[in-house]
């Protein structure tokens, strides 16, 4: 059996298209991270201004001043230290961006003129204890990871679509007449496919997290995602979790997405006539739910977000609800992915064994 699995892994990783796709996802990971980093901008309100590394350093040093639990005193201090009142040129003060801390406090506590809007911490966040700090770097990383993981799900389709269907180009004759062709070989294909998917997902996740550490360090991982620059406030996850927790969920969701995609792609691979059809069919099945006109408030939405497309696009699934003990609804992605996988394994093996050679 292990011999058969090794042969299947070799077939998966020696496919030219798969190799190209894997290189592409790695290059994109690097590209997204570094371009986001380069585009960072910050101005400390006095003299220091810059992009890229300078910006990150300014943001980090500003954050260091106010680190800790968010209190009403801190809000007042930040409002007076950071939020400009004179040079708004008629622009709503909330939308003025000088640095991450300024944007964060303005987003929640400023009126259009840059004055305090009168809300207290508990008015905005309820009883939640909000730990503040430098979260901008990891939140950007998180956004990039979402893009990378979506691309990864397509790469996984490229990897898995040929697992059975490539044999239909003529080797099926030989495989299906051999002793283990309809049994152990089909199992080996499924195991190799899942193993390959898990390996690749782990690899891509590790690379992206490493790049995150390289660019932003470990600062901010224990801080709340709720006190963040304006772009992370509107339509973002409304729960008081830390950046570290956010990333943990995203990585879990990357894996659940990967194995769910592997599950249905295996089935399509076994039933489609050739690898091109399997590839196109799988990609369509994967992406199509984006067209579904389901409102976020509808109960159906809770089920739709369990589709793998929404795992990598973590915002929807992570915004559904917070269940007991700080756990998010998104945790349901795990049983759902296992179901996809189980059905995929069983159905694809059956379909391959029944395949009619022609």
């Amino acid at each position: 059996m292990s011999k058969l699995i090794r042969f299947e892994l070799r077939k998966i990783f020696t496919t030219r298209l798969t190799q190209i796709a894997l290189i592409a996802v790695l290059l994109l990971s690097v590209l997204f991270s570094f371009s986001t980093y380069q585009n960072k901008y910050a101005f400390d309100g006095v003299s220091n201004e810059g992009t890229g590394r300078t910006a990150v350093e300014i943001d980090k040093s500003m954050a260091a001043k106010y680190e800790g639990i968010l209190t009403d005193e801190k809000v007042q201090q930040m409002m007076s230290d950071l939020v400009p009142k004179s040079d708004s040129h008629g622009l709503n003060a909330i939308y003025i961006y000088r640095n991450a801390m300024q944007s964060a406090v303005a987003a929640r506590f400023s009126d259009i003129n840059g004055n305090w809007n009168g809300l207290s911490v508990s008015d905005v966040f309820g009883k939640e204890e909000i730990k503040i700090g430098y979260v901008d770097g990891w939140l950007s990383t998180s956004q990039n990871i979402a893009k990378v993981f979506f691309i990864l799900s397509l790469v996984i389709i490229i990897m898995i679509a040929p697992v059975f269907s490539a044999e239909y180009g003529g080797v099926d004759n030989i495989i299906l007449t051999s002793k283990y062709g309809k049994t152990k070989c089909a199992t080996a294909k499924v195991i190799a496919g899942i193993f390959a998917v898990l390996m690749v997902t782990a690899f891509v996740a590790v690379i992206n997290i490493l790049i995150g550490f390289l660019l932003y360090g470990s600062k901010g991982l224990d801080c709340s995602i709720l006190f963040a620059p304006l772009s992370f406030v509107e339509g973002y996850i409304p729960f008081n979790i830390t950046c570290g927790t956010l990333l943990k969920y995203q990585i879990i969701l990357a894996f659940t997405s990967a194995i769910s995609v592997a599950g249905f792609t295996l089935i399509l691979s076994a039933v489609c006539k050739n690898q091109m059809v399997a590839l196109v069919a799988s990609a369509t099945v994967h992406v199509l739910p984006i067209m579904l006109p389901v409102a976020e408030t509808s109960t159906l939405f809770r089920f739709i977000v369990l589709l793998p497309l929404y795992h990598s696009q973590f915002l929807s699934i992570m915004s559904v609800e917070q269940i007991n003990g700080g756990m998010l609804y998104a945790i349901w992605a795990i049983p759902s992915a296992l179901a996809f996988l189980m059905i995929g394994c069983i159905a694809s093996r059956k379909a391959f064994a029944k395949h009619q050679v022609s």
Partner: protein, 291 residues
Amino acid sequence: MELTTIELTKQYGSKTAVNHLNIALSNGVYGLLGANGAGKTTLMRLLCAIQTPTSGKIILNGKSIVGLGEKYRSLLGYLPQHFGYYPDFAALDFLLYVAALKGLNEKTAKRKSEDLLESVGLSAESNHKIRTFSGGMKQRLGIAQAMLNDPHILILDEPTAGLDPKERVRFRNLISAFSKDRIVILSTHIVSDVEFIAEKIIMMKSGQIIHFGKPHEITSEIDGQVWECSVPTNRAEQYTATLNISNLRNEENGCTVLRVIAEDTPIANAVKVQPNLEDLYLFYFKGENDR
């Protein structure tokens, strides 16, 4: 070992490729002859259980092959008429992969693969990628792959297609030596390939068996209907258009010797000759095909 088909039928839509076919095969070499589209490949696929019959069944030693599953397939070796391969695998790797599929242990797999590459004349190329192989080399690799598990039932679909004469002879010798106590079925259009090694000939037409027997037995059917005659070369073409010619040979004196299949004397000076399988084949198929 006895392999039997009972009322075996395979339909593709309205086309019946194999039609209520009954045959009992015991150990020996069988030559399967038939025009294009006669149903040879379909019959072989059914025997290999890679197509499900529309009706009827296949029985090995009293048991349906459907129920035998792995047990049946472990006895089986199959060379498809057309097959795929992994272009980036070396010949030896490919055989090792098939050996793993056939459940051979590592040592046996290696030994058998190397032996067979030797037998089909590919040992020098064993580490070359299959994408660099010529058609005939791929075909020989296909033959080697079919024999890896010393199959008791060896099914070869046009094994000599693409082989040069030297390789055809090598193949015939390989099969003759291998076939003892086994069922070997091979289809071909080159009648001479089976004339000498096949103990029995199966002739198929429109999905049915029209002849089954030893080569000399079945040729006796057309005893007295094969003629040879000499005609001027410039008129030979005219005769080929009207007569069923199985062979034609130009002589130096401006004459052509025609081998004609006909019930009565086709041309005045014709003499009767001993029929061979090719004559019989032409007698039945007259250049037509079933497609």
